[in-house]
C-alpha cells in the first residue's frame, strides 16, 4: 500500500501489474478510484460559472453527458484536469483528482463573480469503482437494469447497481471501453465484491482487481495525461497537446487571453510520446538529450505491458518534436536511444 493524495492505495494486487494491465486490455479490470474528488455545482448559473473556470465548452453538453476539461490559471496553465458531468441545466458535477481536491475546491470557491450557484465539496459522499475493458459492459449489465449498450461514450445515467442507487458513466482512464460507477461510500465493498463475482474473478479470463501501477501504465499506453506528471501549473494546455479541450471561441474563461496569445505566437515546447529503441527503461524526471544538449524532461516513463515496449511522454522544444526525431534519455547516467512517435501509443480496436 502507498499513500496517494492522503489515501492508502494498493500499487498492485496479487496478480501483479503486468497481468492486471493485460487482463484489462483483453477482458476486464476493476479499479477502486474512490479517491477521486467530487464537487457539486447547482443553481441557475451553474453552466455559466463552470464555463468560466474551465477550458472546454460546457454549453455544448446535454443532460446526461460528460466532458473532459481543465481548470486553468490566468496564465493558461493547468490547476487540474477534470470531468464535467451535466446532470441538469442547473446542476453539474465536477470530478477532480484526489491530490488536488482541496486545491481545486479552494480555487473554485473563490471564483464567484456574482453568479447564482451553490458549491459543495461532496467528495466524501461518493465511492467510485471503474470497470474497464472489452468485457466491462457485459459484467456491469448483470447488476443493473440500465441499458448500457445504449449509453454513448462520455454519457452517463442514474440507476441501480445491485440495488444500490448510482451514477453510471461510460468513461475511464485506460483506453478501453468501460464504465465508472459512483455510489454511497458504504456500498463500495458490496459493489466491489459483486462486480468481481459477475466478472468471474478467479478464472483465467475473468476480471482482475487492478492497482495504481496498472492504472498508470494503461493510461500511459492510451496517451492520457497524468496530473502532477505531464500537466501542472507550469504547463499550458497547448503545450500538453490539450488544445482540443481549449475552446477559445466559447467566450471569456480564466486563462483564455494567455492561451490565445500562445496559440497565435506558437509553442516553444510540446509534450510528445517516445519509444525507447535501445535496451533500458525511461523513467519520470529523466533528461531528454539531443546532441550534447539537455533539451527537455520525461514526465511519464514506463514499460508498456501490452505493447511490450518502453515508452514515455516528455516535453521537448517544438523544433525537435516531430515524429521520427531521434532523442536520447539520460537513464541514471547512461544515454539510451529513443524516438519520438505518435501518441496515443495504443488505440483499442473498435
Amino acid at each position: 500500500m502507498v499513500d496517494f493524495g492522503g489515501w492508502d492505495m494498493p500499487v498492485q494486487y496479487p496478480a501483479g501489474t503486468i497481468e492486471e494491465h493485460l487482463r484489462t486490455r483483453t477482458h476486464a479490470g476493476l479499479f477502486d478510484v474512490s479517491h477521486m474528488g467530487e464537487i457539486d455545482v447547482a443553481g441557475p448559473d451553474a453552466i455559466t460559472f463552470v464555463n468560466r473556470v474551465t477550458s472546454n465548452d460546457v454549453t455544448k453538453l446535454i443532460d446526461g453527458q460528460a466532458q473532459y476539461s481543465a481548470l486553468t490559471t490566468p496564465a493558461g496553465t493547468v490547476i487540474d484536469d477534470l470531468l464535467v458531468y451535466r446532470i441538469a441545466h442547473d446542476h453539474l458535477l465536477l470530478v477532480v483528482n484526489a491530490g488536488t481536491t482541496t486545491k481545486d475546491w479552494e480555487w473554485i470557491s473563490t471564483q464567484h463573480r456574482g453568479e447564482s450557484v451553490k458549491l459543495l465539496n461532496v467528495s466524501e459522499d461518493y465511492c467510485q469503482l471503474a470497470i474497464q475493458g472489452p468485457d466491462a459492459l457485459s459484467i456491469l449489465q448483470q447488476l443493473t437494469p440500465v441499458p448500457l449498450a445504449a449509453m454513448k461514450y462520455y454519457h452517463f445515467g442514474f440507476g441501480n447497481v445491485d440495488g444500490v442507487s448510482a451514477i453510471i458513466s461510460r468513461t475511464g482512464y485506460t483506453g478501453e471501453d468501460g464504465f465508472e460507477v459512483y455510489a454511497a461510500p458504504d456500498k463500495a465493498e458490496q459493489l466491489w465484491n459483486k462486480l468481481l463475482a459477475a466478472g468471474n474473478f478467479g478464472s483465467d479470463t475473468g476480471v482482475l482487481p487492478c492497482g495504481l501501477a496498472a492504472r498508470n501504465t494503461l493510461r500511459l499506453e492510451a496517451g492520457m495525461a497524468l496530473y502532477g506528471n505531464d500537466i501542472d501549473e507550469t504547463t499550458t494546455l497547448y503545450e500538453a497537446n490539450l488544445g482540443w479541450i481549449c475552446k477559445l471561441d466559447k467566450g471569456e474563461f480564466i486563462g483564455r487571453e494567455k492561451l490565445a496569445q500562445q496559440k497565435e505566437a506558437g509553442l516553444k515546447r510540446k509534450l510528445v510520446g517516445f519509444e525507447v529503441t535501445d535496451r533500458g527503461i525511461a523513467r519520470d524526471h529523466q533528461d531528454v538529450v539531443i546532441g550534447d544538449q539537455r533539451v527537455g524532461q520525461v514526465t511519464s516513463g514506463s514499460p508498456a505491458p501490452y505493447l511490450k515496449k518502453n515508452i514515455g511522454l516528455a516535453y521537448v522544444p517544438t523544433e525537435f518534436s516531430g515524429v521520427g526525431q531521434e532523442i536520447k534519455i539520460d537513464v541514471r547516467g547512461r544515454l539510451v536511444a529513443a524516438q519520438i512517435v505518435k501518441a496515443p501509443f495504443y488505440k483499442r480496436p473498435k
Binding site: 500499487v11 498492485q12 501483479g16 501489474t17 503486468i18 497481468e19 494491465h21 501501477a213 498508470n216 501504465t217 535496451r279 533500458g280 527503461i281 523513467r283 514506463s302 514499460p303 505491458p305 541514471r332
Partner: protein
C-alpha cells in the same frame, strides 16, 4: 511465506550469496522479488568489473520502480547471467536458481561469514514486514 534456502548467505539488502570454491554467486531473495513484483529489466555489470562490499553492481526494474542491487562481498565479476536480458522474469520465477545475477571472484572469502544465516534473514524479513 518467502522461501529462504539453508545453504546461502544473506544481506539486509535482500541479496543472497552462494559460495562455489573461491567464487560467490549473487542474486536477490524470494522476499525481494516478491516485493518488487514482475521484473521487466535487469542491468548487470561487465565481466572484469570490480566491486567493494556493499557497492551497487546493477539494478532490477519492475513496471513501477528501479531498485539497485548491492554486492554483499568484494570481488571481481567473472560471469554474468546473460539470459536475464531476454528473460528477466527468471528473477521472479527462480530467484535462487535461473535468476542468479553474477559470479564474483571473492577478494576476501571470509567475508560471507559476517552475512546473515538463513534463520537470521528470516527473522530480519519478519521484523521488516511487521
Amino acid at each position: 511465506m518467502a522461501n529462504v534456502p539453508e545453504d546461502l548467505h544473506y544481506s539486509k539488502d535482500h541479496e543472497w550469496v552462494r559460495v562455489e570454491g573461491d567464487q560467490g554467486v549473487i542474486g536477490i531473495t524470494d522476499y525481494a522479488q516478491n516485493s518488487l513484483g514482475d521484473v521487466v529489466y535487469v542491468e548487470l555489470p561487465k565481466i572484469g568489473d570490480e566491486f567493494a562490499a556493499n557497492e551497487s553492481f546493477g539494478s532490477v526494474e519492475s513496471v513501477k520502480a528501479v531498485s539497485e542491487v548491492f554486492t554483499p562481498i568484494a570481488g571481481k565479476v567473472v560471469k554474468i547471467n546473460e539470459s536475464l536480458a531476454d528473460a528477466p522474469e527468471k528473477v521472479n520465477s527462480d530467484p535462487y536458481g535461473a535468476g542468479w545475477m553474477v559470479y564474483l571472484k571473492m577478494a576476501n572469502p571470509g567475508e560471507v561469514d559476517s552475512m546473515l544465516t538463513a534463520a537470521e534473514y528470516e527473522d530480519f524479513t519478519k521484523a521488516e514486514t511487521e
